[in-house]
């Protein structure tokens, strides 16, 4: 298998999906926990219109903060997200060809679709599908979205989520994210060169310095602003605040200030916002 760089992985995936009917979107400019939170997935997966997009999404999981010391766990990482709506008959084949384009040959690597149904309590969303394993390692999530914001998806969108760092580690034959070759043109640049300091500083913030009073206030304010904008029929603007509340919740959680029963309550509040945004979006019929 040819060792391709991190940015080449992204370029090849983008190229593949352009050739297979997707437009390339840019990452959403808000802090999100996964590519799924991008309005291109949450809102656009609802409603009857066709929608075929691919995009990189930087994602934040404060709970995974490890100061960059852990070989494959980061509080900030990249997902490559593909939405195909309606899900095409040959979606599995497309996925397999996409990883072939990265040099992973399904004839030489044991690729498996292992049951994994996805659920996001904060988005009121769920889907059925698989983890995709490559020689025992999970490299992607493959989901047929059944409902988002409590609303059924018709037609159904197929969501492919690639773990870019995972893929890079596999393709480049290494074990530590710091060694990932980010670029192979001219001077070699590693992932550590680009992101290690981020990991360190943000881990410190997430675990030790995030001001919980400010966060609690911000959560309430985001909730308030979201509801207000829904009343003004601006679901896209409102959704920004829903995303914001979800990220704030993740931060509060990683600071350890939310108890088990409180957690259920916070999740319910974010879900409520998500439902409002989705319902409003559907009503607008865009």
């Amino acid at each position: 298998m040819e060792k391709i760089s991190f940015q080449d992985i992204i370029m090849k995936l983008q190229h593949f999906w352009i050739e297979n009917g997707c437009i390339i979107l840019q990452p959403y400019d808000a802090q999100v926990g996964a590519g799924t939170f991008h309005p291109a997935t949450v809102l656009r997966s609802l409603g009857p219109k066709d929608w075929n997009v691919a995009y990189v999404q930087p994602s934040r999981r404060p709970g995974d903060s490890r100061f960059g010391d852990h070989p494959n766990r980061l509080q900030h990482y990249y997902q490559f997200q593909v939405i195909l709506k309606p899900s095409p008959d040959n979606i599995q084949d497309l996925y397999l060809r996409s990883i072939e384009a990265l040099g992973i040959d399904p004839k030489e690597n044991d690729i498996r679709f292992v049951e994994d149904d996805w659920e996001s309590p904060t988005l009121g969303a769920s889907g059925l599908g698989w983890e995709v394993w490559c020689n025992g390692m999970e490299v992607s999530q493959f989901t047929y979205m059944q409902q988002i914001g409590g609303i059924e998806c018709r037609p159904v969108a197929g969501e492919l989520t690639y773990g870019l760092e995972r893929l890079a580690l596999y393709i480049q034959g290494i074990n530590n994210f710091k060694d990932i070759e980010w670029s192979s043109y001219g001077n070699k640049v590693s992932y550590a060169d680009v992101y290690l300091e981020n990991e360190r500083q943000f881990s410190d913030y997430n675990l030790n310095y995030a001001n919980t009073e400010i966060l609690l206030r911000q959560f309430n304010e985001a909730e308030e602003q979201c509801i207000f904008l829904i009343e003004k029929n601006l679901p896209l603007a409102a959704y920004d605040f829903c995303i914001s509340s979800s990220h704030i919740f993740n931060l509060l959680n990683s600071r350890g200030v939310i108890s088990v029963t409180e957690r259920a309550n916070y999740i319910a509040r974010v879900r409520h916002l998500a439902k409002l945004c989705c319902a409003s979006w559907i009503d607008l019929g865009k």
Binding site: H70, P71, N72, P86, S87, P88, D89, Q92, L96, P106, K107, E108, N109, D110, I111, R112, F113, V114, E115, D117, G127, L128, W130, C134, N135, G136, M137, Y144, Q146, C153, R154, P155, V156, G158, Y170, N175, G256, S259, V260, T261, E262
Partner: protein, 670 residues
């Protein structure tokens, strides 16, 4: 004739395949039976992408029995009659009228006829496909049908003829598809007989029992070759069989540096997370090798092996890192973290729970120091790195950390087993572990009740029933004489800071006792007659659960005996007379001029006195001594007589008998 039906889809969850095979088989058996279709055998095979049904030796012609279906009365509203006709797939004019008991009814009548199997099969098959309910199903694309995963193709042949089966957007054909990764081509199947061979050519082993056999044989072969043993659950083999269309069983290595980590971690990582088969040497120690099953045969099996080795090594590296950090920290320091873990929003944190549990353990074990220490530390592993990665190892890791902090075996044993029983079928903790387990469960049960949590008919999110049942089993199987009522009172004192309404205390305690009583009865009902259980459990059961069980045994045995049967007959007779008499005020009779009354009173009083000192078993026999006197009483006296006074007297004596018996077994319940 042979029938072949293949439902080809995207990967079906391994855990659902077997059930689906059985489910489909049963559906077809039932439908064939309904229509009188005879067959030699029906077999259903499952795999990640296929459910295949083959029915052997069907008859070409089926005779359908005559049908007569009763409909509404002729005088019924038009729409009712019309809908009946529709349900029989005919027009109203095709219905016949028949008189029954003076009323005229519509009937649908069909004479018996002979049809060709191929005419009725398509409909039958369509209905059958639709009637299996997957545990979870989904929609995809723009299609209207739902299935466990996207259904892509239906192959349906009756001998070599394609049956016109339609399901949603799919129309049956004679195609199938080869191995998704090794030979993904479309090909035709000409008849049911060639199905397996044809699929085999395209690298698919459609017969799951064959795939399983292949895997087992490979495992045996490796075991022999390396002089190792593979110990695994049937469930794992079945799951792995359901993850491959063509099994390629391979053996791989575990880096030596990880072999020192606790075997439960190795097991968890290999089995639960990666679906690998661990191997052990003849002494039962984990070997530095594992077996896994790939879905492809490649020229470069080395690549597959290396890849899987890397993944496992990464997981174990994580685990080893956490384990060593955890051991360095030590179980005592780990315990500090309990303050940060909430038990319940209204009941404080785990550290506070542990404090209460320690007090309870103190009471239960009579200040046994090992039990107390084990209780102090039993939840500390919740703050460990390993448990955060492998939550299923709670308790087990605690025992390792205890050992690593130089605590004795008794303590680590108690920590390891204190969750048992965690399910109705789980084994029960013993010795010191039993005390910790009871302390944990009863603290949770009482606390959650105080916090307002309850188990309803449909939901029990906190597992209150499991806690109660666990406590009961622990007490009975360890034969512990625990006064639950007293214990619960003591626990309420421990929770005094969490109790908001002191007026509700009595009601709340009663609720808890009743809840436990229900579970206790349920538990006993499994082995004993529910009516007998009811008779005995009402009597202050919570003073000592073990006594009740012994009594039940004695009572059950006694009543199976001839004496016992006589006894119960007598009792019933007396009970019926007393309860149907209109007398509600009984007299205290201690002697009488009538000899039969006198004898009966005398024996009742005698037995009353002697009974106190007897073992339950002997007591029952003693009660039987009264029977001959009862017989004499009834044979010679009229209980309900014209003499009012005599009647009152006699009823009173009989009531005393009832009262006596009920002291020992509330038989009025029967």
């Amino acid at each position: 004739m042979n029938l072949l039906l293949e439902l080809y889809s995207e990967e079906i969850p391994a855990r659902m395949q077997k059930q689906a095979s059985e489910g489909f088989r049963n559906i077809f058996i039932k439908k064939f039976q309904e229509l009188g279709i005879e067959y030699e055998e029906i077999k259903v095979f499952s795999g990640p992408c296929r459910i295949t049904l083959i029915a052997y030796k069907l008859n070409e012609f089926i005779s359908l029995a005559a049908i007569e279906k009763k409909g509404p009365q002729v005088s019924a509203p038009e729409n009712v009659i019309a809908s009946f006709a529709k349900s029989c797939s005919v027009d109203v004019k095709d219905l016949v009228k028949k008189e029954i008991s003076g009323n005229s009814y519509y009937f649908y009548a069909e004479e018996s006829k002979t049809v060709k199997l191929k005419e009725i099969l398509p409909n039958l098959i369509e209905n059958s496909i639709g009637s299996y309910v997957w545990p979870k199903s989904m929609y995809w694309g723009n299609y209207k049908i739902s299935w466990v995963r996207p259904l892509k193709n239906i192959l349906c042949l009756l001998d070599s003829e394609i049956l016109p089966v339609n399901y949603g957007h799919l129309q049956a054909n004679n195609f199938s598809y080869g191995h998704k990764f090794m030979k993904f081509e479309k090909f035709s199947v000409n008849n049911p007989e060639e199905y397996f061979t044809k699929l085999g050519e395209y690298l698919v082993i459609a017969d799951d029992s064959k795939r399983k056999e292949m895997i087992l044989q490979s495992i045996s072969k490796f075991s022999l070759e390396y002089n190792l043993e593979a110990n695994f659950d049937e469930k794992l083999i079945d799951e792995v069989t359901g993850l491959v269309e063509y099994p390629n069983t391979l053996i791989a290595n575990i880096p030596d540096e990880f072999m020192h980590i606790p075997k439960e971690i190795l097991s968890c990582a290999m089995i639960q997370h990666q679906k690998y088969f661990p191997l052990s040497d003849k002494e039962g120690k984990f070997a530095a090798k594992f077996i896994f099953v790939a879905n492809i045969i490649s020229e470069n099996d080395k690549n597959l092996i290396k890849g899987n080795e890397k993944v496992l090594a990464a997981r174990l590296a994580d685990a080893a890192f956490f384990y060593s950090e955890d051991c360095k920290k030590g179980i005592f320091e780990m315990s500090e973290g309990l303050k940060k873990i909430t038990f319940h929003a209204n009941l404080g944190n785990m550290s506070e729970k542990i404090s209460r549990m320690v007090e309870i353990s103190r009471i239960l074990s009579n200040n046994n120091p090992d039990v107390i220490m084990a209780t102090k530390l039993c939840k500390s592993d919740l703050c460990s790195g390993v448990v955060s990665e492998f939550p299923e190892l709670q308790g087990i890791m605690g025992s390792y950390y205890a050992k690593s902090s130089n605590l004795n075996n008794e303590i680590s044993f108690a920590i390891k087993n204190h969750y048992k029983p965690s399910g109705a079928n789980d084994e029960v903790a013993t010795a010191s572990a039993a005390f910790v387990s009871i302390a944990d469960k009863i603290d949770s049960l009482v606390g959650l009740y105080i916090a307002g949590e309850r188990a309803t008919g449909s939901k029990d999110p906190y597992g209150l029933r499991r806690y109660a049942l666990g406590i009961i089993r622990l007490i009975l199987e360890n034969n512990l004489q625990i006064n639950l009522k007293k214990l619960i009172d003591q626990i309420f004192v421990l929770y005094k800071n969490n109790i908001t309404d002191n007026n509700q205390l009595v009601t709340l305690k009663k609720e808890i006792i009743n809840f436990i009583e229900e579970r206790y009865k349920n538990y006993l009902n499994k082995d004993f007659d529910a009516k007998l259980v009811n008779c005995l459990v009402d009597l202050n059961f919570c003073d000592d659960l073990t006594i009740i069980k012994d009594k039940l045994l004695s009572l059950t045995n006694f009543l199976q005996d001839n004496k016992g049967k006589e006894f119960i007959q007598s009792y019933k007779r007396v009970f019926n007379i007393v309860s149907s008499s209109k007398i509600d005020k009984y007299q205290e009779i201690n002697n009488s001029s009538d000899i039969y009354e006198e004898d009966l009173i005398h024996i009742i009083n005698k037995v009353s006195k002697e009974a106190e000192a007897l073992e339950y078993q002997q007591l029952l026999v003693k009660l039987y001594e009264i029977n001959p006197y009862l017989n004499n009483f009834f044979d010679n006296l009229l209980v309900i007589s014209d003499d009012q006074l005599a009647t009152i007297r006699r009823i009173s004596i009989l009531a005393k008998y009832i009262k006596l018996v009920d002291n020992f077994a509330k038989l009025k319940g029967i």
